[in-house]
Every structure is written in C-alpha cells, then in structure tokens.
C-alpha cells in the first residue's frame, strides 16, 4: 500500500488534487496523509541549495484562518471516510513549516501538491519557488492544477539525460496501473536525432504497454503548449539536481511547464 502525502498549505483546499488521490486509491489502495502546513513565503523559507530552518518564517494564524483550516481538516476527514480511503491527519503548525515536510517525504512514496496550493490559489505560485520546493522533497511529486481531469495519456519528457530517465523509471515503479495508458515519449532537445533511441525503446517496452516516440523539433518553451493540446495528458519529467547552477537548461524547462498550470506533472529528481 503506497503512502501518499497531500499537502494542504494555509487555508487552501485542493479539491482536484484530492480527487486525483481518490482515483489513485481505486487503482491501487493508498494510505493518504493530509499534511496541513502553515501558509508561507517560499522564497523566504527555501534557500537555493540547502534549506536553513533558521530562516523559516511561520506566520501567526488568525482566528478566522484557524477556523477555515479546522473546517478543511474536517472536510478532508469526512471525504476520506466517505470514499473509504485510509487516511491520517498531520498538522504541522507548531513545527518548522514545510521544512518538516522534507523528512516526512523521506518516508512516503509520493507527495501530491495542488498547484493552487503555493502562495494561494488566487495569485498562483511562483514557478521558481515551486522548483526549489520540489528539490527539498525526497520522493517524487505530482503537481495537480485546478480543474484537470485524471490523466488518460502519458507524455514522457525525454532528452536522454540521467534525470529524465530517473523520472521515467520512478513513475513506472509507482504508477504501474497507469502504464497501459497511451504513452508518448517526447524528445525535446537541440539534437535532430533522438539520443539513445534503441535503449529508451528497450526500457519503454519493459514498462509501458502502448508507446510511441515523437521527435519535437521546436524549442522547449513550446513544450507545455504542445502537451496541453493533447487532452488528458500528464507530463513525466526529471528535474535539475540540488546543485542547480549547472543545470540551467533543465531549470528553464521545468519553470515553463510549472508556469503553465494546466497539465498534471510528475516530477522526480535525483
């Protein structure tokens, strides 16, 4: 039984992300932990490479916010009971905010974040901040924008890099039930030929039942626009490493996808 953490930040209630977890549970039973953390300013909490808890800023929770959060906890509990999803509630208001989410993610298989979760759904999150947050979490993450349907197609973002292959493998291990969906291995990169084409086909044959390879001969900035046109797609991509400076290419690619906020994204980083 997979252990899945769903992050509730501040007063947000990411219903689409909860629906996603519910569908996962019907495919294969999960244990869902609702991790309720205070609203925070990501850029003040996370340094680029190493988080420093000394700079964590845990804002006070007003009485009205506390009531809303209490309602969210209640609504989530009732929802899980109704849907018969084994769940736990984890309230981190006295801990060090999302810094503690890092250790919790070590002992989880997957973290789900509603993309309206960070910085509030009204304004949306800053993709750079989300990228940094993703690198602190120690297990793969699925980012679910509001109002998207459960994926009916997979798009594996492939550039031949170690991080892309890492993400593809982790997805296959965690979402074996989804590997029969139509899958596109989308090559993005400056090469006109697909790097390691025979090898990726061999690996894909071992994990994905219905896949094709496409060579996208356009700039990476168009990738999310292209993926969005494929209705019901979910993008699987690797992320730049914790020493991010040498991976600016990956960073810009990630930022583009995360900015779009219209496609579910599975991200795993080494």
């Amino acid at each position: 039984m997979k252990k899945v953490i769903l992050i509730f930040e501040g007063i947000n209630y990411p219903q689409t992300a909860i629906d996603f977890a519910t569908r996962l549970n019907t495919l294969s039973p999960i244990n869902l932990t609702g991790l309720f953390v205070p609203h925070f300013e990501v850029s003040t909490v996370w340094s680029y490479g190493v988080s420093d808890s000394a700079h964590d800023f845990i804002p006070m929770v007003s009485a009205s916010e506390a009531a809303l959060i209490h309602n969210n906890v209640k609504a989530f509990s009732e929802y899980c009971e109704r849907k018969k999803i084994p769940f736990t509630i984890d309230k981190e208001f006295n801990d060090l905010g999302l810094n503690s989410a890092r250790l919790r993610s070590r002992f989880a298989d997957l973290v789900i974040i509603g993309s309206g979760t960070l910085n509030g759904s009204d304004t949306g999150f800053a993709p750079d901040d989300l990228s940094r947050l993703l690198h602190q979490i120690e297990c793969p993450v699925v980012i679910i924008p509001d109002s998207v349907q459960f994926p009916t197609r997979l798009v594996l973002a492939y550039d031949g890099s170690e991080s892309a292959l890492f993400a593809i493998k982790q997805f296959a291990y965690l979402f074996g039930e989804l590997t029969s969906l139509p899958t596109l291995i989308a090559h993005i990169g400056e090469d006109s030929s697909i790097p390691g084409e025979d090898e990726i086909i061999s690996l894909a044959k071992a994990h994905f039942k219905n896949f094709k390879i496409v060579n996208l001969e356009f700039e990476e900035s168009f990738f999310s626009m292209w993926a969005r046109e494929l209705k019901g797609s979910m993008v699987i991509c690797g992320a730049f490493g914790r020493s991010g400076l040498s991976n600016l290419f990956r960073k810009s690619f990630m930022t583009t996808i995360l900015s779009d906020r219209s496609i579910p994204v599975f991200v795993a980083h080494k």
Binding site: M1, K2, K3, N31, L103, R104, R106, F107, A108, D109, E138, C139, E162, L165, F166, K169, Y173, L174, G196, E199, I200, S202, L203, A206, H207, K270
Partner: protein, 276 residues
C-alpha cells in the same frame, strides 16, 4: 516487468553468476539482458594500414593477430554456451557485446532498472582487489541500483536494511521494495550503528515499512559501522543486504563505502546498493 542486466567478463563469464541472475530475473518474471564486456583497448597496437595505396601506421586493433583471433573465437564460444545455458533455464534473454567496459556499462545503467555484477570482475592483468577497481568505479558512477551477486545463495529468506538516518539509505530501501515486490513477504531487519534511535525517524520508517512488509525488526549495533554491520552479517544465512550511498562523493559517504567493501570482500551475501 523490469529491465535487468547481467554484466559478465566476455573471456571468463561466470556460470554461477548466470544462475544467480536467472533467479533474480525469475523473481521479477522478466527477461535477462546479458552484456559481455571485453576490453577493446587492451588489444590495440600500432598497425600498418593502407589508404589510397599509401601505407601508414595507426593505433588500432590488429585483427590479423593470432592472439586477437583466438580471443574472438573464445568469446564467440562463450556467448553460444551462455545462450545454451539460458535455454536450459527456460529464460528469455538477449546477449550483447560492449568493448569499452567502464564507459559502456555506466551508459547502459541509465536505461536499466537493475544491474547484476560480480564483485571481482576485473580487466586488469594480475592481482586486483575485491571489489575490483573496475567494480568500485562502476558502483560510484552507476545510474541504477546494483546487485552484487552471491552465486552460492540458495534462496533469500531475510532482508537486512542498513539505515543511517540519511536520505540515500531510505532511497535504496524504496528502490529495493519497488524492484522486488515478490520479497515483501520476507522478514526485514533494520540495523543502525548507533546507541539510540532517532524516534521521529524510526516512527516514520516504521510507518512506511509496515505498509510493505509484514515482519519488521529493529536492531541497534555497537562499534564502528563497518565492523558492526560486517559482524552482524556473518551471523546471517540466505539474507540480502540493502545499502544506500556507495557514494559518488566518497568522502561524505566513507562509512557506507567501507562497510560495503568489507562485506563485498567476504562475498557471503548478495548486496543491493543504490545511491541518490
């Protein structure tokens, strides 16, 4: 299904390792990709070549050399014999050859779920250590988990997981669990070299472990990590050791590094190593 590679020395492939790898592939009900590694460069020498009627000397394989021909003949025979052995095991297989042992196998690891290798595989003439320099380099640079074979293993009856409160060791355990769902009914023992448990981490670890494994035990070991885990494993039979971080950064992971090497040298248990 998983993509599992067995790496063998093309000139001296180990049939015991093949038997071990077949068992591992069968556990996952998947095919076995066997990679015959040969050191192409060791056969390079100054060779006279012709271009537009002009003779010149270049550094290349001397394909006319009797030694080279004999070697190639022997490798061809080995591949055929290995193929025959796979047929007898009734396993689906594929055999490929690679000529640059170190670089090629690291490149192949990117596209594999697991690589099975012997600890003493070496392409160095004369004495080499265990694990060999080749295997050490491979362990530090591989991009997928590695299983150090233990050809005499009869069955896997227990999993021993060496935890050190670091991300990398938990990552190794997760990879092992995802790759070997069939072993989830085996008892797992978590060992840590420390005088106390970090209760917060132990609680999290136990919460995760009990979702996958029915029988979980915890044990604290005393002493230096490399000695303590080494001594602990000697007492075990038919167990597999799961270790994180045979680090890329050797200095930051020297404890696991030396622990792994001592146990590899003993070669009494298969070791699953994965680093993040």
């Amino acid at each position: 299904m998983k993509k599992i590679l067995l790496v063998v020395d093309a000139l001296n492939p180990s049939y015991k390792s093949l038997g071990f790898a077949v068992n591992i592939a069968n556990l996952n009900n998947c095919r076995l990709d066997i990679v015959f590694l040969e050191n192409f460069y060791v056969d390079s020498r100054l060779v006279v070549k012709q271009l537009s009627g002009m003779a010149y000397i270049d550094w290349d394989i001397d394909e006319n050399s009797p030694t080279y021909k004999l070697k190639q003949e022997r490798i061809t025979q080995n591949i055929k014999a290995f193929g025959d052995a796979c047929e007898r095991y009734f396993i689906r297989y594929d055999i490929t050859r690679e000529y640059d042992p170190s670089a090629s196998i690291i490149a192949r690891s990117r596209y594999a779920d697991l690589i099975v290798i012997d600890a003493d595989m070496s392409f160095k003439a004369g004495f080499d250590s265990i694990p060999s320099k080749f295997v050490r380099h491979f362990l530090e640079n591989t991009e997928c988990p590695v299983l150090i074979s233990q050809p005499d293993l009869k069955s896997i009856n227990e999993i021993v997981f060496a935890y050190d409160e670091k991300e990398s060791s938990m990552f190794a355990l997760k990879q092992f669990t995802y790759l070997f769902p069939v072993l989830r009914d085996k008892p797992i023992e978590v060992v840590q070299v420390s005088s106390t448990w970090n209760e917060q981490q132990k609680e999290g670890l136990n919460d995760w472990l009990t979702r996958y494994y029915h029988s979980v035990k915890y044990r604290l070991l005393e002493g230096r990590p490399e000695d303590a885990i080494f001594r602990h494993m000697i007492e075990k039979q038919n167990a597999i050791l799961v270790l994180g971080a045979y680090g890329r950064s050797v200095f930051s992971n020297f404890i696991n590094h030396s622990t792994a090497e001592r146990i590899i040298r003993l070669n009494s248990h298969p070791i699953f190593i994965s680093h993040k």
